[in-house]
C-alpha cells in the first residue's frame, strides 16, 4: 500500500457535563451525546476519504481533534505530513470580514514563509488564478463576494502553503447546486495538480460518492461502516448506512 498521511487510532472524546448542560440540555428531542468512540482510520497519500454522518454525529469534533484545535481526546493521532489545512462549511465566517482577499492570502504566504517554505513562493494573483478568480479580487472585501467566490478564496488560502492534507468540512453544503458542482470540480483539479489528500466531511452521501475514494459512516461518534465508496453504495452493510442511502435516493 502507499504511505499514509494521517493515522487515527482508537480516538475517543467526551464532552464534559457542564458544557453539555449549557449547550443543548433538554429532556426532549433527538439528541446525541457528542462523543467520539474508538475511532480508527487512516488516509493514504493522494486519497480522498469521505466522512458521512448527521449533525451531532461527531464529525466536527473529529476534525478539531485531528487539527489539534483545542479538543481533548484519548488515543493517538499521527500526522505524517506537516500542517494540514481546513476548509469550513460556512463561507461567510471563513474569511476575516475586516481584511481584503489579498491580505488574507498574503498572510497565509507570510505564515508559510515563517515555516520555511520560502523556496517556491507563489504570487497572490497566480493563486487566485488557480482557483478560478481574476486579479481584480485582490482588493475585495469578503462581503463583496458571493458564497461560491468566498469558498474559492478559502480553498486558495488552504492550498497556498502546499499542504499534503486538507480537511474539508461540508465545503459545498451552503452553496447552490450548480456552484457546488464547480467547487467539487475545482477540488478535484487542485488535488491532481498538487498531489493533495482530502478528508471530506459531508452529510450528503451523493456528494461523497462523487468525490471520494473511500468512505466512513459515522453515527453517534462511532464509525459504523467503512470501505470503498462503490462497495458501500452498492452493498451497504449497516442499517444506518442503508437509511442514509435511502434518504438521498
Amino acid at each position: 500500500m502507499t504511505e499514509s498521511v494521517l493515522e487515527v487510532r482508537h480516538v475517543s472524546s467526551y464532552y464534559t457535563k457542564a458544557r453539555r448542560l449549557s449547550g443543548t440540555h433538554s429532556g426532549f428531542g433527538e439528541r446525541d451525546m457528542q462523543v467520539l468512540r474508538d475511532v480508527t482510520f487512516s488516509i493514504q497519500k493522494g486519497e480522498t476519504l469521505g466522512l458521512v454522518g448527521e449533525s451531532g454525529s461527531g464529525k466536527t469534533t473529529l476534525c478539531r481533534a485531528v487539527l489539534g484545535l483545542g479538543m481533548d481526546y484519548e488515543g493517538e493521532i499521527i500526522h505524517h505530513t506537516d500542517h494540514p489545512q481546513m476548509v469550513f462549511q460556512d463561507p461567510y465566517s471563513s474569511l476575516n470580514p475586516a481584511r481584503t482577499v489579498g491580505w488574507t492570502l498574503r498572510e497565509a504566504l507570510r505564515a508559510g514563509e515563517r515555516r520555511g517554505k520560502r523556496a517556491s513562493r507563489p504570487l497572490v494573483p497566480e493563486i487566485l488564478g488557480q482557483v478560478g478568480l481574476s486579479e481584480e479580487y485582490i482588493d475585495r472585501y469578503p462581503y463583496e463576494l458571493s458564497g461560491g467566490q468566498r469558498q474559492r478564496v478559502c480553498i486558495a488560502a488552504a492550498v497556498i502553503q502546499r499542504p499534503q492534507l486538507i480537511l474539508l468540512d461540508e465545503p459545498v453544503s451552503a452553496l447552490d447546486v450548480t456552484i457546488q458542482a464547480q467547487i467539487l470540480r475545482l477540488l478535484v483539479r487542485l488535488k491532481k495538480e498538487f498531489g493533495l489528500s482530502y478528508l471530506f466531511i459531508s452529510h450528503d452521501l451523493n456528494v461523497i460518492y462523487q468525490i471520494c475514494d473511500r468512505v466512513l459512516v459515522m453515527k453517534q461518534g462511532e464509525i459504523v461502516e467503512s470501505g470503498d465508496v462503490r462497495q458501500v453504495y452498492e452493498d451497504p452493510q449497516h442499517d444506518y448506512t442503508k437509511m442514509l442511502l435511502a434518504a438521498v435516493d
Binding site: 450548480t178 456528494v207 434518504a247
Partner: protein
C-alpha cells in the same frame, strides 16, 4: 378538501389562457413566452380543453424591488396554476425568484418595498386587489406557510402551544377550543406528547420537532393551500425524510394542496407531482416531475440535473 387525489397534475402554462381571462395583457406577453425555447411545456398541450377550477392561478406575475437595478425583476412574468389536492414544486437556485413568488402567493410581500404586477387568483379571489385587512384574513386562514429554519421561525420567548394556535387566537376562537385544536394539529404533525409539548419553549425542542410544530401551526386553520419554503433545507437527511413523509401524508390523506419551494431537485422529486423550474425570475420549464427529470428540455434544467450529485457520475471521471 373536496378534491380527489387521482386527478391529472395541474400545472399548465397560463400565458395563453391568461389573456382570455382578462389578465393584464402587457405582462401576458412578457410572461413565459410562446416560443418554446424559453419555456418547455408539455402539460399545456395535453390538458388544453380541460377546465377544472384551479385553487391557485398565477398569471403574468412580475416583481421589482425598489432597491434593485431598473431592469432587474425578481420575478419576471411567471404564470402557473395549481389544482386542489395537488403538489407543485418550484425549483431554482438563489436569486431565481422562487421565494419571492411564494411570498406573493402567501400575501407576505412587505408593503412599499416592491412593485408587483400581474394576477394571483386564490380560490377565485384576486390577491392583488385585496385590502391589507383582507390579505391578513387570507394569511393563516386560506394559506399556511412553513418556513426554512425551524430554529428561528418561533418566538424564543413564547411557549410552543401559544404559537401553534396563534392563527386561531387572532380569529377570536376561545381558549379551550384553541388548545384542543392545537394539540390535535400537533398530533397530526407527528408530535408525540403534544399535551406536554404544548407548554414547552422552542429552545427545548430539536429542529425536527420544531419543524413539525411549525407545520402544525400552519395547518391549524385547515388552510386551502400550504406553502412550504425550503422546509427541509436546515434539517438532517433522515429528519428530512420524516418531514417529507409527513407532508406526503397530509397531501394524500387530507387532500392538502401543497406549493413546495426548494433548491433541492431531489427533495422535490420525492414529494411533488409537478414541478416548475425557475431561473432569474422566469419559469424555464414545467411539467410532471418524473417527466421533467427523465427528459429535461431546457438547457438550465439539464444543467441543474447534471449538477445534482448523482450516483451515475463522478467528478473524477468527468474532469
Amino acid at each position: 378538501m373536496d378534491q380527489t387525489a387521482g386527478e391529472p397534475a395541474g400545472v399548465r402554462s397560463m400565458d395563453r389562457h391568461g389573456e382570455k381571462e382578462g389578465t393584464r395583457q402587457t405582462f401576458g406577453r412578457t410572461s413565459c413566452g410562446d416560443s418554446g425555447d424559453e419555456m418547455t411545456d408539455r402539460q399545456s398541450q395535453k390538458n388544453s380543453g380541460q377546465q377544472a377550477p384551479d385553487l391557485l392561478k398565477v398569471s403574468g406575475l412580475r416583481v421589482h424591488f425598489h432597491n434593485a437595478a431598473p431592469e432587474r425583476y425578481a420575478v419576471n412574468g411567471v404564470s402557473f396554476s395549481l389544482k386542489r389536492g395537488d403538489t407543485l414544486g418550484i425549483v431554482g437556485e438563489s436569486g431565481s425568484g422562487k421565494t419571492v413568488t411564494a411570498m406573493c402567493v402567501s400575501g407576505l410581500m412587505p408593503r412599499g418595498k416592491a412593485d408587483e404586477e400581474g394576477s394571483i387568483l386564490l380560490d377565485g379571489r384576486e390577491m392583488f386587489s385585496c385590502s391589507e385587512e383582507n390579505l391578513r384574513r387570507i394569511r393563516g386562514q386560506d394559506v399556511g406557510v412553513v418556513f426554512q429554519d425551524p430554529m428561528t421561525t418561533f418566538d424564543p420567548l413564547c411557549r410552543i402551544g401559544r404559537q401553534v394556535e396563534e392563527a386561531l387566537t387572532v380569529r377570536g376562537i376561545p381558549k379551550m377550543e384553541r388548545r384542543k385544536r392545537a394539540v390535535e394539529a400537533m398530533g397530526l404533525a407527528g408530535l408525540r406528547d403534544a399535551e406536554e409539548l404544548y407548554s414547552r419553549y422552542p429552545y427545548e425542542l430539536s429542529g425536527g420537532m420544531l419543524q413539525r410544530a411549525s407545520i402544525a401551526a400552519a395547518m391549524i386553520t385547515k388552510p386551502k393551500l400550504l406553502i412550504c419554503d425550503e422546509v427541509t433545507t436546515a434539517l438532517d437527511v433522515l429528519i428530512q425524510e420524516q418531514i417529507l413523509e409527513l407532508l406526503r401524508n397530509l397531501n394524500e390523506d387530507y387532500g392538502m394542496t401543497i406549493l413546495f419551494i426548494s433548491h433541492d431537485l431531489h427533495v422535490v422529486k420525492k414529494i411533488c407531482k409537478s414541478v416548475l423550474v425557475m431561473e432569474r425570475g422566469k419559469i424555464v420549464e414545467s411539467g410532471e416531475t418524473a417527466e421533467v427529470f427523465a427528459r429535461p428540455q431546457h438547457a438550465y434544467t439539464k444543467k441543474l440535473i447534471a449538477s445534482i450529485p448523482a450516483r451515475a457520475e463522478r467528478c473524477r471521471t468527468y474532469d
